[in-house]
Structure formats: structure tokens, C-alpha cells
């Protein structure tokens, strides 16, 4: 059995003259979680629809656990669960009826169906609300229900398109916890979102799309390395009485490009990879160092640095 859950190989998709997805390749290992981020119109949804067999690529192919989405879409569909960005459902259904409707679609045997519904409700924190009508659900609960529906046939690969869109911070937090649980159950997950802290928190690997192209892909450390700025920002805290002296000492060092005092802290910009020389210089001048840290680039900064705001 293939150790790669999803393999995207040089996929291109165009709509008339518009290139929605342009020669994208990456893979997701079994049990891995890949977060896709990108500005609106970057091609995330189109790519997810191609992975989910809902659209055909013009060229390239996608393999889900070794099966091509073009050659064997029916088999692929049994292995993946797609959670669309928008919630659609038949009218006047309770949560249980809604899940039963889709369980029946997935041909889950009648004897197993009730237990399966109970399991997914429990996993998505919908237990005890099975009799509630879908039309009266809050956005958070609708997203949970959509996720429950996505899980009803126990797929091994999950494609989640903007699952946290429109959720309040608490609901987002809960949804994040559910997704982490799913990842711990061995599901391979591809998730697209505009909420970067969520992606940073959930994903093992992150892909940044812009104008249909994959501009960066890898784990967070790799992305940081790839998009690292030329100068490193180091934050230093020294006793207040030594602040001016310390600033003078550090500014005189050859590798320090700037040294600012901000909120009783020194922010040093340096182009040297090893920052120990800063500590050495301060100790040499008998200045106590209370705090020494290097500013770590977060995903938002990486995203802003790696994208130019282009849309297709």
C-alpha cells in the first residue's frame, strides 16, 4: 500500500483564458495534515475540487492512496471525505435524518447506520442534539454537522474547504480540537483556510498558493527558512540603568545593522547567523542580560512575504 495519501502531480486547470491552477505538485503522507493558504482567487477551491473528483484537471493527475482521480473516481470517492465551504442540505431535516440521508447514500448497511451516526455525532460534539432541526443550527454547529457528514463513511483522506469560515473564536477552537483528534486517528487531511493561526496550529505541512501557483510548500520550519529575511531581529532586555550603555556597545559592533530601544527593550537587527557575539560583548562590558530572544517569523509574516497580492 502506498505510504502517500495524496499525490498531486503537475496539475493544471484553466477556465477559458484564466489559469486557475498552474502546474501544482505536492504530496501528503498518510496521517499527515496539509494546510493550504492563499488569497481569494488563488485556486485553493479549484484544487480541492480536483482532488475530490468534482473537477477534472486539464493536465496532470491526482492520486489518492495510489488511485487516480481521473481513472478511478468511484473508488477514490469511497476513500475521501470532502467538506465543502458552503452548507447545503435537503429541507426540514433533523441532524439524525440528515446524517441518515447521507449514510444511505454511502450505502452503509441499515444495521450499522445508527451506530455510525452516534459515533460521528460524538466525535463532532453533536451528541444529544440528534433531534434538532438543521435549519435552526448555529454556524458552528452546521460546520460540525458538515464535518460529521464528511466522516459518515469513515474516509481515510479528508478534504476540508474553509471549515472555520464564519466561526467565532470558541467554535474555531473546538473545531481545531476535532481536526486534531481526526489527525490523531490517522486521517490524512488537506485543509484550506484564511485563518492562518488555525493552519499554523493544525498542519504538519503548509502550502501557499498565489495566482494558481504553489509559491511555498513545506513544514513551518522550512517555510521560515525559505522566507527568512536577510536580517534577523533579536530582542534583548537589560537592567534599565544599563540600557543606554548596552545600546552603545551593541551599535558599535560590526555585524549589527541597527539597534533600537523600544519598551525598555533593545531590538537588534543583525546579519550574523550566530548571535552569541552579542552576549559576549555585553558580558565583556559587565552588563547583565535579563532576556535574550530571537523574533520567530509567524505564518502571517511568511504569507505576506511570499505573496504579492496577485489574484487570478
Amino acid at each position: 500500500m502506498s505510504i502517500t495519501a495524496v499525490e498531486i502531480d503537475n496539475v493544471t486547470k484553466t477556465f477559458d483564458d484564466l489559469i486557475a491552477v498552474d502546474q501544482i505538485s505536492f504530496h501528503v503522507p498518510r496521517g499527515g495534515t496539509l494546510g493550504l493558504i492563499g488569497p481569494n482567487g488563488a485556486g485553493k477551491t479549484t484544487l480541492l475540487r480536483i482532488i475530490s473528483t468534482l473537477a477534472r484537471p486539464d493536465s496532470g493527475d491526482v492520486l489518492i492512496e495510489g488511485e487516480s482521480v481521473q481513472k478511478n473516481p468511484r473508488l477514490v470517492r469511497t476513500r475521501l471525505g470532502f467538506m465543502p465551504a458552503e452548507f447545503g442540505c435537503p429541507r426540514n431535516l433533523t441532524i439524525e435524518e440528515y446524517l441518515d440521508y447521507f449514510a444511505c447514500m454511502y450505502d452503509i448497511p441499515v444495521v450499522e447506520r445508527r451506530q455510525r451516526i452516534r459515533d460521528v455525532c460524538e466525535l463532532t460534539d453533536l451528541s444529544g442534539r440528534e433531534g434538532v432541526y438543521v435549519k435552526g443550527l448555529s454556524t458552528g454547529n452546521r460546520q460540525r454537522l458538515l464535518l460529521a457528514k464528511t466522516l459518515i463513511h469513515d474516509p481515510s483522506v479528508l478534504i476540508l474547504d474553509e471549515p472555520a469560515s464564519g466561526l467565532d473564536p470558541r467554535a474555531r477552537n473546538e473545531l481545531r480540537a476535532i481536526i486534531r483528534t481526526l489527525a490523531s486517528l490517522g486521517k490524512s487531511i488537506i485543509i484550506s483556510s484564511h485563518i492562518l493561526p488555525d493552519i499554523e496550529d493544525i498542519s504538519d505541512r503548509i502550502g501557499i498558493l498565489e495566482a494558481g501557483r504553489l509559491v511555498l510548500e513545506g513544514d513551518l520550519a522550512t517555510l521560515r527558512a525559505q522566507s527568512a529575511p536577510a536580517h534577523r531581529a533579536i530582542r534583548l532586555r537589560v537592567p534599565t540603568e544599563d540600557l543606554v550603555r548596552a545600546s552603545g556597545v551593541l551599535s558599535s559592533l560590526p555585524n549589527v545593522t541597527s539597534c533600537e530601544t523600544r519598551d525598555q527593550q533593545l531590538i537588534i537587527s543583525s546579519d550574523e547567523a550566530n548571535s552569541n557575539y552579542l552576549l559576549a560583548a555585553l558580558l565583556q562590558h559587565d552588563i547583565r542580560v535579563l532576556q535574550f530572544s530571537e523574533n520567530e517569523t509567524n505564518l502571517e509574516e511568511i504569507f505576506m512575504r511570499s505573496t504579492a497580492g496577485k489574484v487570478t
Binding site: 477556465f15 477551491t45 486539464d58 473516481p73 435537503p90 447514500m105
Partner: protein, 596 residues
């Protein structure tokens, strides 16, 4: 046993059945149905109650038990009710998931179209059960009044059930190709017309695709309106209705199984999903296509079906179409054979004079051939978005739709032409000559004074070949139009209009020249008018059957007809080449026209 269980499960375990069952067994549906149904029944009974002394009504009640009459009215009312409501009930099978934006989720579930749709059909049983349940008080009244003929009543009840199933399947079939609202209205219209003509006291009721011929039989036989010679008996009418409806059901089921051919949809196409920036608001209203065209929806009919269908799609699709034509043709020819050998020939052998028998026989033969060719033209042509698709035929071997169409049409044309020439000769040898008559006379007594010289052998052979040539011309016209139009039914309608114009115009012009003395005085016009009229296929056949009048009697050349037909074919070939090239360039490149 396992297969039986799986078959039963197909009906029981359809998600749409569960949803529809929940809808039917709800207070609002039961209440509304009860009100409307009783309204319909009251409307049907009211005229009888308002004027009980009406002479027709009295004649009816004198010859028929009132319980039996009321039973028929109830079943008729239930049929009328179902005619209106079943298409409406099924009008949301695809539209609701599209509007509710969960069609993609249905596609992703991998459910087969048949399993998805069959639940909708099965649930109509529940709807019929609800109708019958709501009619219970009326049935109690029927039993109290007495006189109910149970076998007839139960037979009619079966036909009403079959009619409901047929309506459901036909509606689903139409929904695959039309917007469901239009499909519902079209079905309602056709069913209403068929119900109305099914009520007519015809000696030989051909409209046996509704239960009305069987329902009305009891009434007409009570007042002696049935033809004892041709009208048959209730079992005969019952079987004819059951067979007629079963045929429509089988065709609908086959069409649902095949589904629409996977087409390439285009932005800003006539299906209207406008997604381009800068479109006006008015155009954006057409964003939402009302019937299935989106590739992910069409995928439902392809990818979610068994592997065998996907491997042998071409073989199945064209094979079923060809099989349907051959079976229908065999049925028509068998009916003609039995009509001749069981009815006409024994009638003549008994010493009766039937001067028109050969004429009618050959007209019927040409009629069968002509109708078969029209059906073949429709079945073996495809609109521009599918013409150049390549489909798997057998063992992974793929073939272009246009080539499959041409091959299938050519094959059917050969078979039908051979059969239309061969069967009259065979009937002549096997049945007519032993009966002492001929179907190929050279003279025919029309009246005591008038004897018509008509070469029936020429009529049969040349008429069939000419009809085949017309079929080829119409087919080329249809294929040419299909290269420009999105819907083959539209191409068929335009083609029919054009061909009709080619049939009628020269004939009318020729007639005008010959009938207006000022024009016919011109020797050039007078000489050429019959030739001009002869370019029309209608005139050609009138000439062949010697129905063309004094100007078209003898010695007139039929070359103009052949010349025009060949010219139509040649013109189509010339036009098809650039159109085909353009379409190939457009479609055989990367498929990049799907809407988001």
C-alpha cells in the same frame, strides 16, 4: 435469494425514498391531498348529481350499476389527480439538490443514478396508497350501492398503479434532458392529451398508454358503443393498456440507465452559466442552469455507474438504440403481416372485393420505413457538445460519437431498406399467392369505369429506395445542424422545417404555374412546371402512387427529385467540413470550459 434481497434493497434503501416517505406521511401533505382529491371527485360527480334526469345519464344508469359507475369515476379521478400531481412531486429530484447546493455531495457519495432515482419512483406507491386511503369513504359508498364488478375494478386499479409508475419514470427520464419545470409541464400536457383521447370511443383504441381506454370500456360496452368486430373484450383492452404502459416504463428505465451523453459545457453557452467578469446583471440571471449540465453533475451518470457500463458505453448506448429500432420495426412488420394474413387475405379469399388492399399495404410498408428512418435520424445524431467525444466501445477501444452515429445509421438504413423491399415480396410468395391474390397487381379496378395502371413492383422497390435517399438527405441535414446547435431536438425541429420547405415550395410553385392560365400560357414555364414540382419528395411519391393529377401521369422524369436529394447531401457535406474542423479545434484541445 441473495439477488432477490439485493433487488428489494435497491428499492427500500434509496435515500430519496426515505425523504419522500417522510414528506408524504406528514400532516400538510395528507391534508392538502385530501382537500384537492375530494374536490376533484366532487367536480366529476357534480354534473351527474345536478341533472340526474339527463337522458345520457339515465341511459347509462339503466344499463350499468351505479356502484360500478361510481367506482370507475373514483379511479378516473385518482388517475386525473395523479396526472397533475406526480409530475409536480418529481419536479425537484435534481433541482432541489442544485438549489440547495448539495448535488456535489450526492455525486461524491458514489451512489448510482438508478439507486438514487428509484426511491422517488417507489415512493409514488405510497402517494397512490394515500390517494386510495383518502378515497376509502367513497369506496364504502361504492360497496353500499352494490353492483361493482370486482375483476374489472381490480384490473382498472392495477392499471392506475401502473400509470402512476409510468408517469414517475417518464418524468425522471425527461428531467435528465429538460429543466424539470418544463419537463413537468410537457409531461402533464402529453399525459392530459393521451388521457383525453384514451376516453374516445374509438373502434380500435391506439392510445393505450393510460388506463382510460380500459376504464371507459365498461361504460361504452354498457351503452353499446363498442365495435364487436374490432373492439375486443375487457381482457384484451386491459392487456393492451398494460403492455402499452409497460413499454413506456421499459423505455424510460432504459433511458434513465443510459443517462445523458457526457457533453462539454461552455461558459456563456445557451445553458447560461455566465461567470465572466463584466457580464450584465440580466445575463447573470442565467448563471444558474436549470437542468443538469455541470460536469460534476453529469459525472453522476458516468462515474457512479458500474465498470461494465463505463467500459462498453458505446456498445450499450448505440446497441440499445439500434436494438430498440429493430424491435419496434419487428413489431410493426409483424403487426402488418398478421393484419394481412389474418384479416385482409382471408377476407378476399372469402370472395369479398377489396380494391385498395395492395395500395394500402404498400402505403403502410413505406410508412413503417419512413417512421423508422425518422427515429433513426433522431437517435443517431448528437449535438455539437458531444459530436467529437470519444467513447469506449469494447475492450477499451474508443470511437468518436460522430462515427458511431454514422455507422449505426448506415447499418439501420441498409436493414430497413432491405426489409421494406423484402417483406412485401415474402408475403406475396408465402401468403398472397397461395390465397389466390397478388399484392403486386399491374392494374387496379378503382371503379366500374376507371381502371388504374399502377406498377406496384416499381412502386415498392423504387419507393423504398427513394425513401431511403430522403432519409439520408434528412440525416445529413440533421448532422450539419447538429454541428451548430446545442440540442439535437432543436436541430431536428430546424431540419424538419427546412426539409418541409424543400418539399412544399417547389410543389406549390409548380401547382401555381400549372393552375394559373397566364403563367401556363408560357410554354417554357408550362414545360418546366412539372419538373420543378418533381423536385419535391411529396410530389415524387404522389407521382409514384399516381395521385399527382393529370399533369403527372406518364413519361415524366423523376430525375429532378433524385438530383435535389443528392444536391442536399452534397451541400451538407461541403458545409460540414469547415464546421467540423472548427468544432474539433474548439473541443479536441484541452478541455478548459468547465464552470467553477
Amino acid at each position: 435469494m441473495k439477488a432477490v434481497r439485493r433487488f428489494a434493497e435497491l428499492f427500500r434503501n434509496s435515500p430519496t425514498f426515505g425523504r419522500d416517505r417522510a414528506n408524504i406521511i406528514s400532516g400538510i401533505t395528507i391534508g392538502t391531498t385530501a382537500l384537492l382529491l375530494n374536490g376533484v371527485i366532487m367536480m366529476m360527480i357534480l354534473p351527474l348529481m345536478l341533472d340526474p334526469d339527463d337522458i345520457d345519464f339515465r341511459m347509462l344508469t339503466e344499463n350499468m350499476e351505479f356502484g360500478q359507475l361510481l367506482g370507475l369515476i373514483l379511479l378516473g379521478g385518482a388517475t386525473a389527480f395523479a396526472t397533475v400531481l406526480i409530475p409536480l412531486r418529481l419536479a425537484s429530484v435534481f433541482m432541489a439538490p442544485r438549489i440547495g447546493r448539495y448535488f456535489d455531495q450526492i455525486v461524491l457519495s458514489g451512489i448510482s443514478p438508478i439507486r438514487f432515482l428509484i426511491g422517488k419512483v417507489t415512493s409514488q406507491n405510497l402517494f397512490l396508497a394515500l390517494i386510495l386511503f383518502l378515497l376509502l369513504p367513497w369506496f364504502v359508498l361504492v360497496l353500499s350501492l352494490g353492483g361493482l364488478e370486482w375483476p374489472v375494478f381490480l384490473g382498472n386499479l392495477f392499471l392506475v398503479w401502473q400509470y402512476c409508475m409510468m408517469l414517475s419514470l417518464a418524468m425522471l427520464w425527461l428531467s435528465l434532458y429538460l429543466n424539470e419545470v418544463l419537463a413537468g409541464l410537457a409531461l402533464l400536457y402529453v399525459a392530459a392529451v393521451l388521457c383525453a383521447v384514451g376516453c374516445a370511443p374509438l373502434p380500435w383504441q391506439p392510445f393505450v398508454v393510460t388506463p382510460f381506454p380500459a376504464l371507459m370500456y365498461s361504460v361504452y360496452s354498457a351503452v353499446n358503443l363498442t365495435d364487436p368486430e374490432l373492439g375486443g373484450s375487457y381482457p384484451g383492452i386491459f392487456l393492451a393498456c398494460a403492455a402499452g404502459m409497460a413499454t413506456v416504463m421499459a423505455v424510460s428505465l432504459g433511458a434513465i440507465y443510459l443517462g445523458p451523453l457526457y457533453g462539454i459545457t461552455r461558459d456563456n453557452s445557451t445553458f447560461g452559466e455566465v461567470v465572466k467578469a463584466g457580464d450584465s446583471k440580466r445575463r447573470r440571471r442565467f448563471r444558474f442552469r436549470l437542468h443538469i449540465q455541470r460536469p460534476s453533475e453529469l459525472a453522476f451518470f458516468y462515474e457512479n455507474r458500474g465498470d461494465s457500463f463505463r467500459k462498453y458505453e458505446g456498445l450499450l448506448r448505440w446497441g440499445i438504440a439500434l436494438g430498440f429500432l429493430l424491435i419496434a420495426g419487428t413489431a410493426a412488420w409483424s403487426a402488418l403481416y398478421f393484419l394481412m394474413t389474418r384479416h385482409y387475405l382471408p377476407f378476399i379469399r372469402a370472395g369479398n372485393r377489396l380494391p385498395w388492399v395492395a395500395y394500402e399495404f404498400h402505403t403502410l410498408c413505406h410508412g413503417v420505413h419512413g417512421v423508422a428512418l425518422i427515429l433513426a435520424v433522431f437517435l443517431f445524431s448528437h449535438a455539437r457538445n458531444t459530436t467529437y467525444q470519444r467513447l469506449p466501445v469494447i475492450f477499451g477501444w474508443k470511437m468518436q460519437v460522430s462515427r458511431m452515429d454514422s455507422a449505426a445509421f448506415g447499418l439501420f438504413l441498409l436493414i430497413s431498406t432491405a426489409v421494406t423491399i423484402g417483406i412485401p415480396l415474402w408475403i406475396e410468395q408465402s401468403a398472397a399467392i397461395p390465397a389466390g391474390v397478388t399484392l403486386f397487381p399491374t392494374t387496379e379496378m378503382q371503379s366500374e369505369q376507371h381502371v388504374r395502371q399502377l406498377d406496384y413492383l416499381r412502386l415498392s422497390v423504387e419507393g423504398t429506395l427513394a425513401l431511403s435517399l430522403c432519409g439520408v438527405a434528412v440525416y445529413f441535414l440533421q448532422r450539419t445542424l447538429c454541428l451548430s446547435l446545442w440540442m439535437k431536438s432543436m436541430a431536428m425541429a430546424v431540419g424538419a422545417l427546412l426539409y418541409l420547405a424543400a418539399c412544399i415550395t417547389p410543389m406549390v410553385l409548380g401547382a401555381i404555374i400549372m393552375e394559373i392560365p397566364q403563367l401556363s400560357a408560357n410554354p417554357l414555364l408550362k414545360y418546366n412546371a412539372p419538373q420543378l414540382a418533381m423536385t419535391s419528395p411529396v410530389m415524387f411519391f404522389l407521382f409514384l402512387y399516381q395521385e399527382g393529377g393529370p399533369f403527372f401521369r406518364e413519361g415524366l422524369s423523376t430525375a429532378p427529385f433524385y438530383l435535389v436529394q443528392v444536391s442536399i447531401i452534397a451541400a451538407c457535406v461541403i458545409v460540414m467540413r469547415p464546421l467540423g474542423r472548427r468544432l474539433r479545434r474548439e473541443y479536441l484541445g484541452p478541455l478548459r470550459t468547465e464552470n467553477k
